[in-house]
Symmetry: C2
Subunit: 335 residues, 2 copies
């Protein structure tokens, strides 16, 4: 059974109920960020709500993977979606990003204080929602989500540090991507099962599946950050290169000793901001140095690994099929 | 029994163990903030660690109030200290404060990204430490702490909003102080009892005691923010007035229709930054308009109310005596 409108509506309702616990101004900023309403509080159509909702979908499927009704995965879905959005809110402040999902970011629209506090609020609600489940499995879920947030923080901290360094290695870069993105996919894919009291090997298998899925997702993000269509991604074109981000394709290229790799190192080392023609040239050099090909191949490898993990788990057939399909859909992701 | 070196050392150890779960850079920033080490990682003497540690002391006494050994209050003490410091880290970014406890703040020393992430990390660890207790009472503790963090956020959000308003009423201002400060005192004074599984009326009584204590603490802070000795408080002199903060003594004075109140309103309404002589004059006007006297009387009233609550709780006599003494000590606080 795929998560139909029913469970997705339950997640939406539970998310709104969580926001209702906040003071009005913080709640307003959180709902604006989630695309529930515009800056003046007017409701937005559901299509504008936070995009693909991959993490809640995974959390719901993870409960079903453990053989319990999908409804039992709702707190996990809400918690993961809240943590994801907490990290976006703070990352936008840290990175100075003014736009997300074709709208001004919360700090750009309301202020830095508001964005920091809205992020704090969503992180708090995430752990609160799990604590409130009331089952004997709730503390393990709180522990898993907390450990995940620590990894998100480690990943973002490394990301910030990498911008000031010119000697980032590929293993460091992959570890950063694992912390920054794969950790929450891993948690989403296993948290519903944790709440459902699934056996350890199922929980860990789903977590590993999520890890691979998250790596594939982040590497695709890195590719879209350079070669994506701005009209589709909603992000300013080549912004990752402009910020001299050490994303995976870039680091692969920087690590190459062929001429394009050397030229890219020289370009990245220049103390002036990268603009129009330089950015195009940087993108071209990343590709010539093999950064694009290696990363695309790694996406495929991660998706295959994710699917392979599932095959060893003896899941209910429909859930197995859904999780497999979800992994394959990442191959053709364009936003 | 007073919390001796023993339990305080246990809190210190548990706090350090919690930080050890973080990535090295975030851990470094958190420990710097707590005064465990300097910016280069050299250990600092215990006297430099976070001041009075009122919140952990309250949490430990709260466990003893429920009749369990003081050790059982340690996770509550650590969690409350972590939440307190999470809020300081983020408030320093939001308020642009460059100094705290006679040292540069984390954002001023390491960067805004680092301070946001260090705060996020401490908030996460706080809830994680409670979730990890493993007792049947842990989820209730997570819920109580989460609800408290939501109030801290509401209070800080109101504080930020008040700076842009010139019509803040005294009830609004007191509600802000209750959220921003009293909420965490209330939580600290009751969280050990929650973990200990104390009866509802004991938990709520201790929470109410903590609320009164926290109000007395915040109002004293407001007084010290205007009339405190910088060498003792470690805060730049008159900084609250410089930032046109709507603290309780200021709002009492602004609400007065006597000449000093009117003059203060005119001074606060001027669009230019307040400097040296204007700040001295503002402080004088707050006093002449009755802001200082009213606030001092309110501190006394809150301390008396705190002590009165304790009298109705039938606590172990030594714990009752400690909590009473702690309340009375706030009367003569100078930092």
């Amino acid at each position: 059974m795929s998560p139909t409108a029913g469970p997705r509506e339950l997640v939406d309702q539970a998310l709104r109920a969580a926001l209702d616990r906040l003071d009005p101004h913080t709640r307003h900023c959180c709902g604006y960020h989630l695309g529930l309403w515009d800056a003046d509080g007017r409701s937005l159509p559901p299509a504008r709500h936070g995009g693909k909702a991959l993490r809640p979908t995974l959390a719901l499927l993870s409960a079903q993977a453990a053989g319990v009704p999908v409804e039992q995965g709702v707190p996990a879905a809400v918690a993961c979606e809240l943590v994801h959005n907490f990290s976006l809110l703070h990352d936008d402040v840290i990175d100075g990003d003014t736009e997300r999902r074709h709208r001004p970011t919360v700090w750009a629209r309301f202020g830095v204080a508001e964005a920091i506090l809205a992020g704090d609020a969503m992180l708090t609600l995430a752990l609160e929602v799990l604590g409130d489940v009331g089952s004997a499995t709730a503390p393990a879920a709180v522990s898993r989500l907390s450990a995940t947030v620590r990894r998100l923080i480690a990943g973002q901290s490394a990301d910030v540090a990498f911008e000031k360094r010119d000697d980032v290695t590929l293993p460091e870069c992959l570890a950063m991507a694992a912390d920054k993105t794969a950790a929450l996919f891993s948690c989403s894919a296993s948290l519903g099962a944790v709440l459902a009291g699934a056996p350890e090997h199922v929980v860990e298998g789903l977590a590993t599946y999520g890890d691979h899925l998250g790596m594939a997702f982040q590497l695709t993000d890195d590719l879209l950050g350079i070669w994506g269509d701005q009209a589709v991604t909603g992000k300013p074109v080549l912004s990752d290169l402009r910020a001299r981000k050490k994303t995976v394709p870039v680091v692969v290229a920087l690590s190459s000793n062929d001429p394009p790799g050397r030229q890219l190192r020289e370009l990245y080392a220049e103390p002036i901001p990268l603009t129009g023609p330089d950015l195009e040239r940087a993108a071209h050099l990343v590709e010539s140095a093999g950064g694009r090909t290696w990363t695309q191949a790694e996406v495929d490898r991660q998706i295959s690994a994710a699917v392979e993990v599932l095959d060893g788990l003896d899941l209910p057939p429909v859930v197995h099929a859904e999780l497999t399909a979800l992994a394959h859909r990442l191959r053709v992701r364009d936003h």
